[in-house]
């Protein structure tokens, strides 16, 4: 049985902020996140006839979204390689603290910068688990990996982040 699919307004209200932040942190810029959010919703409605309800709508939606983000990164890597420019130079911090930044602001900014430098798989697992609050079972479905791999990627991501954060002190 094909389950009822929520209308655009409902789907957008429930998922757009989470998708927007995921896309921003996966791909590095607000402009990327805006383009990707639009592409993701168009993709969802184009693929709607394929949705059979084996997965929860949310899981299906985030799987499409993460695949789209990873495709975007691949395409950017290719372009970057052609232009012989490094990825690090393109990635910008998600925001800058104001003139009177608190310790927490600085910690968050350092963490944002470090997240942007994680390998893609580890970044995806970290963002989905520690930032967006998905469980390993959901992450496994979204990324098409096993739960064990999800746990392993997350742990590697945290260890790598720690190294990077310690290097900034």
């Amino acid at each position: 049985m094909q389950p009822a699919f929520p209308a655009f307004d409902e789907l957008y209200a429930q998922h757009s902020t989470r998708l927007f932040n995921l896309a921003w942190r996966m791909c590095g810029t607000r402009a990327d996140a805006e383009d990707l959010l639009q592409e993701i919703f168009l993709l969802v409605y184009r693929k709607l006839p394929d949705f059979r309800g084996e997965a929860a709508i949310g899981t299906w939606l985030y799987r499409l979204a993460m695949n789209r983000c990873l495709d975007h990164l691949k395409s950017r890597h290719t372009k970057a390689n052609l232009a012989t420019s490094s990825l690090d130079e393109e990635v910008r911090p998600i925001s800058r603290p104001g003139p009177v930044a608190s310790d927490l602001d600085i910690k968050r900014l350092d963490l944002e910068r470090a997240i942007a430098r994680l390998p893609e798989g580890a970044r995806a697992a970290f963002l989905l688990h520690d930032v967006e609050g998905f469980q390993h079972q959901e992450i496994a479905e979204i990324l098409g990996i096993s739960e064990g791999t999800s746990k392993s990627q997350l742990h590697k991501a945290r260890l790598r982040l720690r190294e990077m954060l310690m290097a900034t002190v």
């Binding site: 957008y12 607000r30 409605y45 930032v131 945290r158």
Partner: protein
């Protein structure tokens, strides 16, 4: 346990998903190993800071642009009468029978009253009878049509229709019984007309489905 072995447990330790026995092992190790204790504290801090990262909202302009694009391509989910329509009608039929039963129980429990409005009563009863007659005629015509073509329907769908019709018929019977007790009751009149309307709608849908098959 070595630091390396403990390291394998730290992910679950950060998330609080260790078993009681593994948790005791990690605690025992970190009590005596300052490096692993510091590592665990740092990982917990990273997780905590991650949960406090800034949330950004997409702009309203972006929402409008996306909605506009989606509306150009969004397909409507296919209508599946065997599932959606009949389950909806079954629900409606259930509501009808609940309403009909409630009307019956309510009026069975009420003491009889005799409002002194004979003319109004006669007029309302007459209007109800006309409406009832209208529905009965429509139902008879539709029933004849459906009886002639019933074989064209999928047995599962035909079964669902028959079940819904039986439910609606019970609601009609209950409402009529309530009206015999209280002919001037607006609630009972409404209940009867609603059940009749529902039966006409169901029969019309049935004919449409037969024509499409």
């Amino acid at each position: 346990m070595t630091c390396e072995q403990i390291n394998e447990l730290l992910g679950d330790a950060v998330d609080g998903t260790l078993s009681a026995s593994d948790s005791a092992i990690v605690r025992s190790h970190t009590d005596s190993c300052s490096a692993c204790r510091q590592l665990l504290a740092d990982l917990i801090d990273i997780r905590h800071t991650a949960s406090l990262l800034e949330r950004h909202e997409p702009s309203l302009d972006l929402r409008r642009a996306i909605k506009s694009e989606v509306q150009k391509i969004a397909p409507q989910p296919a209508r599946r009468p065997g599932l959606g329509l009949w389950s909806g009608l079954a629900m409606a039929a259930s509501l009808a029978v609940v309403l009909g039963s409630a009307v019956w129980l309510y009026f069975a429990a009420q003491p009889r009253t005799n409002p002194d409005a004979a003319a109004q009563l006669a007029s309302a009863t007459s209007e109800l009878q006309l409406a009832e007659q209208h529905y009965d005629n429509a139902i008879a015509a539709l029933e004849k049509l459906t009886a002639d073509r019933n074989a064209k329907l999928d047995p599962q769908v035909a079964g669902a229709i028959a079940q819904s019709l039986a439910t609606i018929d019970r609601a009609i019977g209950d409402s009529r019984a309530a009206l015999k007790t209280q002919p001037d009751s607006i609630v009972a009149q409404t209940s009867l007309l609603e059940a009749l309307r529902m039966k006409v709608a169901l029969l019309q849908e049935t004919v449409s489905l037969m024509n499409a098959s």
